[in-house]
């Protein structure tokens, strides 16, 4: 597998970042949804700590991913109507923005709530602001609202990928997915 992207396929770095982040985001959304309703106690605190650690990891990966994306050429889009190309560009920009906005709003939420921030019990990170109940509510809304928007954009992103693979039968999904071959063109009967 090529490290860098080619005209036909995403490179190893891009694919690894894409799927590792996708997996972590799925876990984070599930964990975030589950942990908030737990009764106060040590298990809840530990799950929050885990959520924060993975959130910081995702933020760091988002930085890496953006830099990598800017440093190389992406594979060419398969032929498609202009509105679809614009739609793809829009969802990709929105996804990148959310990859930063969601962890950062979580960090802000944590800071305004006056909680410590530790990465896997190894490193402590500074608070973005002092304890601030009003800002805490704003940051909470941004964090949760950001996830809602993310889920909508991700649904579009995944639906488009599946449409390319199964309906258009082009290499879009295969270019990002290890082990997946581009579908054979439909044979006219």
């Amino acid at each position: 597998m090529e490290i860098r992207s080619t005209q036909e396929r995403w490179g190893g770095v891009s694919r690894l970042l894409h799927w590792a982040m996708a997996l972590m985001i799925a876990g984070q959304v599930a964990l975030g949804w589950y942990m908030t309703d737990l009764p106060r106690g040590l298990p809840k605190l530990r799950l929050y700590a885990l959520h924060k650690s993975f959130g910081l990891t995702l933020l760091a990966l988002a930085v890496l991913r953006l830099l990598w994306r800017l440093a190389e050429h992406r594979p060419a889009l398969p032929p498609m109507p202009a509105w679809q190309a614009r739609g793809a560009a829009f969802t990709h920009v929105a996804l990148y923005a959310l990859l930063f906005a969601i962890p950062l709003s979580g960090w802000l939420f944590n800071s305004a709530a006056g909680f410590p921030l530790q990465w896997f019990e190894l490193v402590n990170l500074p608070a973005l602001t002092g304890a601030n109940p009003a800002l805490k509510e704003v940051a909470k809304e941004l964090h949760e609202g950001g996830v809602t928007v993310l889920l909508v954009v991700l649904a579009l992103h995944a639906a488009a990928a599946l449409k390319h693979h199964f309906l258009d039968r082009d290499r879009t999904l295969a270019s990002m997915t290890p082990g997946l071959r581009a579908p054979a063109p439909r044979q006219p009967r």
Binding site: R40, G41, L42, L45, R46, A49, A113, G114, F115, P116, L117, Q118, E121, N124, G130, A131, P133
Partner: protein, 211 residues
């Protein structure tokens, strides 16, 4: 101050029975009796006094404070035998810059504020101390500290700084929260919340009126 104010008239009454005693000697005896009776009483100036602490949560220090506390301070640097420091803290008045943490602290695993509303502190012996704040007199007290119904004898070093309008008492003492059953059970594990808590007392004291 009931003890000393009660004692002075008693001595005066006894003295009056011996009319032959010269007035000057009587005055001297009264002054002596007052000085021996007790160290002076002080009132806490709440706005400029604090009982705070520094704890550790997930590798990060946090500070907390008790908004409601009262103290009865009877202290004279030269009269340690009759000096005594007492204080009562309302556990529910704790604030730590985090509403969630404050609520957690009130629960049964932590302060159990519903069951044990107050913590008490009282000295049992005082002596001159050595290490401490430069430019201030330093003392050490043995004191009984009761939190969550558990009493522990602690060593309480403090400094005493006389001021034109009163005095300032400063103390720092490190406690082990598990000595008082605070954060027991699953929380005893130090990886989330540290065991050592540094308590910082700063009292601005005004001489009690009526002396």
């Amino acid at each position: 101050m009931k003890a000393s104010s009660g004692r002075v008239p008693a001595i005066a009454a006894r003295a009056s029975r011996f009319a032959a005693v010269p007035a000057a000697a009587l005055a001297l005896a009264l002054v002596g009796a007052t000085a021996r009776a007790a160290a002076p009483l002080w009132n806490v100036v709440p706005a400029q006094s604090s009982v705070s602490f520094v704890g550790t949560q997930q590798g990060e220090k946090f500070t907390g404070a008790f908004g409601a506390f009262a103290a009865r301070i009877q202290f004279g640097p030269a009269d340690l035998a009759s000096s005594r420091l007492e204080s009562t803290l309302q556990m529910r008045s704790v604030t730590t810059q985090s509403a969630e943490r404050d609520d957690t602290l009130a629960t049964s695993q932590w302060f159990d504020s519903a069951q044990f509303a107050a913590a008490t502190f009282q000295t049992v012996a005082l002596r001159a101390g050595v290490a401490g704040v430069a430019g201030a007199a330093n003392f050490t007290a043995d004191a009984d500290l009761t939190i969550k119904g558990r009493t522990k004898r602690i060593v309480f070093p403090f400094s005493w700084q006389a001021r034109p309008d009163g005095a300032v008492l400063d103390a720092r003492v490190t406690l082990d929260r598990l000595d008082f059953g605070i954060g027991a059970g699953e929380w005893a594990d130090e990886s989330i919340v540290g065991r050592k808590v540094e308590v910082i007392v700063h009292l601005l004291l005004a001489p009690a009126a009526g002396r």
